[in-house]
Symmetry: D2
Subunit: 273 residues, 4 copies
């Protein structure tokens, strides 16, 4: 007599429906994180595509139905795929960053894959965006994507001061660090205005630690938080921005046969991620 | 290769473990509520014990393993059972009520089953408690359970004023209405102090509506919210108060054979719930 | 030796600076609201322009320096003035409404003065906006201002259903009622999706009450809150949208001599507010 | 005609009333912090007792009336005085720590002046308290004050593990570091459970920095925040706990003449603070 949970409910995906497979492939539903409201994306025993189990560089794969993400019809596969990991990650970071639309948000590492999506989501969500990255090429890229200010980390001695100058002296309402760099985090702490939030997204190498003095939190009321991908609803919301034409992932199509070659290029820095 | 979700994970209940079956028997995991963080207890397609499926007045029952609530050893079955529905409901109401421990909280309908647990949780959670109910017997009961103030709704013309007098003129930080009475809700709106919260818990008959004028929200910064049972973690937290000896459900033991008789007594008002 | 508070601090307005006089003219700084964080706009003893003291239909007026609102140079007086009351009110309502940019927000009474600013702020803040008002003229006006959907309350039998249809069945993340109409509030309750917020802004006549049944809050997780103008910082933030060209108040210039005539026209409904 | 702000309002202190002078002596009311809701205790130009202006080791002093803290009659001066700085600081830290009463809170530096008040407030506010300090004497002191668990930092190799053992493996819901020690903060990061909060209160020497790796925030959902004394309302709330007999500051009375001698003893570590 108990049907729910042992099969598909009316609200779940149907055979033939367009679906996506996200980074988060399944959760245990019973660990300390899963039991905590909003903790599902941090399940201690989660399965991730391409980590403990095979990933999605394949034509067929097996996925628990409840973790199939419903996808809308319309946008092409290649522009939806990046949203299922990088896109939803930065979207969720902005969703929880605490800034009010109209306030200044800094995206650090803005010329990378997640960062470039970050500029677009930030603008589409009503924030004023300061992009931080290196070089003239990245500058043009970031400004074209919607950043109002670009700060070149190679040529700027005191980035935090420039952020302050561009925010009427107040500092940023939030800084989202998408760069996997300890220094990017270190700089970020100095950019925050009253009650601002540093949102951890990029993962530096284990040896790159960030340091702080507690007085900064006491005096400025700031906070540090982290963002971990997003729920299935977050993904649906993030995709809607693509559907509405407000976010355009930059993608380069290739074939399964060329995967090794492309991977090599990424390692050599010839293709950005 | 995919094990999670298709079987028991390490973090889930084991055979032989002490478990409980709560009001919420299973969720669909995919509706608009389930997809929303914190929405699981409001699943639009949830199965509830004793509603769409058989309840727990039985010796054997089938429950999806992921909705078996892990129970600690120690307290007797009969003192844990009420926590799995009424106890966790009022505990969750207090958890989200927004009041800081030390501030005044009103429990309306305090002499009923949920209300009496409410007085005990409220005290154990550091709140100062005002209990509202009717009659000398309830007064003694509520004060014995830990209320600092009792207001008799039968003999008090202006309950809101008495609440204000007992809170240094400020009003309550939160009012939790456990009574299934429109009038109890109507009175509650006048008891709230600046930025106070009215928490809906008791369910009046469909015809008993509550009136408000929007200016009350504009001028006082108050809010109305609702509480719907609690998650499996909320239940574990609620049970810990029983284990620590801070909450003692008042229970009356009977047998399955006497169920019809007891139900009849409840209908006739001879046994409180 | 104590200088602060007994004179102008460095951070305060200077002689010659451009300033505005808002609806909130001064606060007591010591009542239950003023002592509560975020409570200043609800000071129980506040002075308001044109209520207990003379208003701003004058060439000279006396205002406590600390409640002079610093104004940026640039926009003309007549486009900043409406922001100091109506503009900041709807901006603050959106700031606290709890919706994430990209989600659907309903502005009820969207064709009025506050509502029309609401459509523009809502769009500029990244929300998708559903406007509710009456008539073809208002429809064109609201869609031109940036609403994606217009619902005509005169020709729509079940407004809540139309909101649901336009939000993929989910309902709105927030409804801001700017209309001073009990019916507008009554309808609003049915438009909210999971955990949505009804934000009270418009003030109906005292006799127009709104009614609810507590089950709506228990089942849907919704909340009712209110918004009361905004702080001096909120005003500065609201003005920045005007400076950026994202919000354009519709104003009609007249002279002090014609005030009585214009007031008469407003009473007769010939000029919108 | 404008009276408010230029004199005493009805809600403010009266001549003859019992008042206190807190650490925060006055604020500018117009800086970036003062303009931000909840920012008043972090005013960038605030006057503090004993810093930019003379302190309270005096028989007479001049204080702006609006920053005179209203005190209730009853408790003796010497038990109220510590609440106006250290007491309200730890009370406010607990008020914003995000833990639900019944959950585990760690007070690090629990045997010091602020820490000892922290144990008492924590218990009175319904939290379960783990105290961290050094030595048998402090252990007895902390347990007597209401801590359920004491961890001796001198004899415990892995403090974080002991915290985890005592919290059913979950970790603490909040850690309040009152010790002015970089190491205390460093240890604290490892004690937090899912979505736990590290609250910065104690101020280490400028050279003692704390290190973190962003992955901790991403994986665990934790946050770091800071607490800065408290508002006048926070002080009133903190004092109420003293009045109710739930918090007893340990004080040692002396005379103004002996101040130099006592200061010397504090420097030599003969008197705890």
């Amino acid at each position: 007599m108990i049907k729910l949970g042992s099969g598909l409910s009316e609200s779940q995906v149907k055979i033939g429906q367009r679906v996506g497979v996200a980074w988060q492939r399944d959760i245990c539903g019973a660990c300390g994180m899963c039991l905590t409201e909003g903790g599902e994306t941090r399940c201690f025993e989660q399965l991730n595509s391409g980590r403990k189990i095979d990933g999605t560089f394949a034509e067929y794969t097996v996925v628990p139905y409840r973790y199939l993400t419903k996808l809308i019809e319309g946008p092409e596969d290649q522009v939806l795929a990046p949203i299922l990991c990088g896109g939803v990650t930065i979207y969720k970071g902005l969703k929880i960053c605490g800034a009010t639309p109209g306030q200044w948000v800094v995206v650090s590492g803005a010329g990378g894959g997640v960062g470039a999506l970050g500029i677009q989501y930030s603008k589409a969500m009503g924030y004023r965006t300061i992009a931080i990255d290196a070089g003239k090429e990245k500058e043009k890229y970031c400004l074209d994507l919607g950043a109002e200010v670009f700060i070149d980390l190679k040529t700027t001695a005191d980035i935090a001061s420039v952020v302050r100058e561009n925010t009427s002296g107040r500092g940023a309402a939030a800084v989202l660090v998408t760069a996997g760099s300890g220094k990017a985090y270190q700089d970020a702490l100095g950019m925050l205005g009253p009650f601002g939030s540093l949102v951890c997204i990029g993962i530096p190498p284990p040896s790159q630690l960030v340091n702080f003095h507690p007085l900064l939190f006491i005096d400025m009321g700031i906070r540090i938080i982290g963002s971990a991908v997003g729920t299935r609803l977050d993904i649906q919301e993030a995709i809607e921005f693509v559907q509405r034409g407000l976010v355009h992932p930059t993608v380069q199509m290739t074939t399964l046969e060329q995967l090794s070659e492309v991977s090599e290029q990424i390692v050599q820095g010839k293709v950005g991620i």
